[in-house]
Symmetry: none
Subunit: 189 residues, 4 copies
DNA sequence: GATGAATGAGAATTCATTCAT
DNA sequence: GATGAATGAATTCTCATTCAT
């Protein structure tokens, strides 16, 4: 094999795409994405067959990153609420640290360029998160047997919380705290 | 600029734009919008100077419609929770009845083609909704003095609820009920 | 109706396309064709939806022109051979006068961008030519009842004759004469 | 430039190119040709400096193959007409057996990517065919001293005959016979 | 010598906007 | 005011060719 496909370049494209999709929406030009990734226009297409393929893979890459981030350092021995709080905090901190990725994700979530299949795959990436959530909410949540529902509540309130943090970055910890409390109450029995 | 002659055509353009933005995102072609409105391509531009102007006005028109809808038939004499529930129900029912408008609104909310000014104007359209909310939450809400926050929680949970309704239309009433309960608990003291 | 589609511009595009397809083959860029027609790049596509549509219409336009040319001034009262000779001469003279169109036609005939339907329509344009040919060859031709065959022989020998004329334009009349004689003998009983 | 190592690969490229040029015209991508030949994209260019070089060599290779084929098994002792008929039959049979090569040849013949020099070289490859033709037509042909002309008539009628055979493969022998007769009469005194 | 990733100049279209009718 | 043809910049994607491995 000649020069192998560089994982580094693939990452650079996804990184650049996240940045530009966050800013310009899914209409972000592939030429700009390639340029931002430090590559020639055409090179992008050796890594992603079409722009839609790129968008879908970007969506999945971000979802995978977020899902993995939420589980990192999971305090298996802590109390149920603390374990939930851990996942919440990691979501918020990740998004605060990667605002472009979070913004791109929100654009992609409402875009029709993300296929039903990608959306389903995206859901599956959060399976473990939702399983842990379900486990921790046993005895607390009103809808114990609907992990999707509780996960969606968490997601909705996290996105909302991040909007407030974006507007008042100084109050990050306060909003983070308030958001989690809202979540914890929202799903309670 | 004097108001153009036919208010009817203006409405038709906004209606068509909502439909197409919902489906195709903000990239929806003006030519298709005009056609869907039953007009010639060029005519659109006698009603809206640019596409961005149309998009911004569409955003405001939908927000205004939603805000007005939430207040319609407001049961001034009912109990506080019932009054909140009224606004919640009207939101959900409006979105279930106008899925395209709701979808368009969600696209527009995350789009950078909506100016900061439009976003601020959009906020202001919900001033009365938020004032009533504040009034009804006095004594119940944890953050009594942050009507924006409570309004945002309502919005986030409503959008989430509508996602579930979209997936399982049959369970509309159950989700509507559950969503409101989640909201009511979320913001509680 | 605003400005109507200009038949003149449509012709200009077809004319320019003939010229460029003759020279560059079906790979001739639409941008160059538009420019040669004195129009903006985009304008071409208001007259022809796609490049393939243009190519197919060009093919049919040239075939129609040739078919019509072969019939012009048809000497209905002359002898059978003279009537055939008339059509032959008009073919050769038209191609000698419109070498680009003839060359374009030859490119298009072997191209897979011309649809089966266009090819069938092209055949039909020569129906009258072939009918007259059949009529004049009655009693002379070996395959009286195969007008397609006799027409194809005429076409093949005409194209070949035009190759010689292209190489030695001075001997045009001699080749024209020789070519017809070859045809007349070829199809004879 | 020394002959590259693998004659086998060179042949494979030419074979693949014939197939793809027949199907896609001269616009056939070199990458697809290489792939069809079982080689990497870049390898093609160690055998042919440029795509035009490949196209020109392909043209000459096919012409050479056809010329050689027409002479194979030449019945030196048969009568003049039978000797001509032999060459005709071998042409038709070769094309019927190698339809892609024949189709590619027709595409290349009308393409401007084939240089004047290649066209001249192509002519020369048929020198012996034409010499034998001239010899056999002595006393029969109207244009005894124009072997190019008689050869061109043969070529034109053969291509036409092959069009009919392509459309009605069952009648191959009948068309082959009829075509030769047409040729024999066409060039007769 | 073989490989295939990298390149960037096109290629065909699309589209917001203008303006002659 | 309404129409839709005209414009040309911008967009996605292709492809011959080069060159690091």
């Amino acid at each position: 094999m000649a020069r192998p496909l560089s994982e580094e370049k693939r990452e650079a494209i996804l990184e650049a795409a996240a940045e530009l999709v966050a800013t310009l929406g899914t209409g972000a030009p592939t030429a700009k994405i390639a340029q931002a990734a430090g590559l020639a226009e055409g090179t992008l297409f050796t890594y992603f067959a079409t722009k839609d393929a790129l968008l879908n893979e970007l969506f999945l890459a971000i979802e995978a990153e977020l899902a993995a981030t939420m589980l990192e350092g999971y305090p298996a021995k802590a109390a149920a609420q603390a374990r939930c709080r851990h996942m919440w905090d990691r979501f918020i901190d990740w998004a605060a640290l990667n605002p472009m990725k979070h913004k791109a994700m929100r654009q992609l979530k409402v875009s029709d360029r993300i296929s039903a299949e990608s959306k389903k795959l995206g859901e599956m990436l959060f399976q473990e998160v939702k399983a842990l959530l379900a486990q921790n909410l046993a005895g607390h949540a009103a809808k114990e047997n609907m992990p999707d529902y509780n996960g969606a509540v968490l997601g909705a309130l996290a996105d909302m919380t991040l909007d407030f943090i974006a507007r008042h970055p100084r109050k990050r910890e306060a909003y983070k705290q308030a958001g989690f409390e809202a979540f914890w109450k929202a799903i309670a029995r």
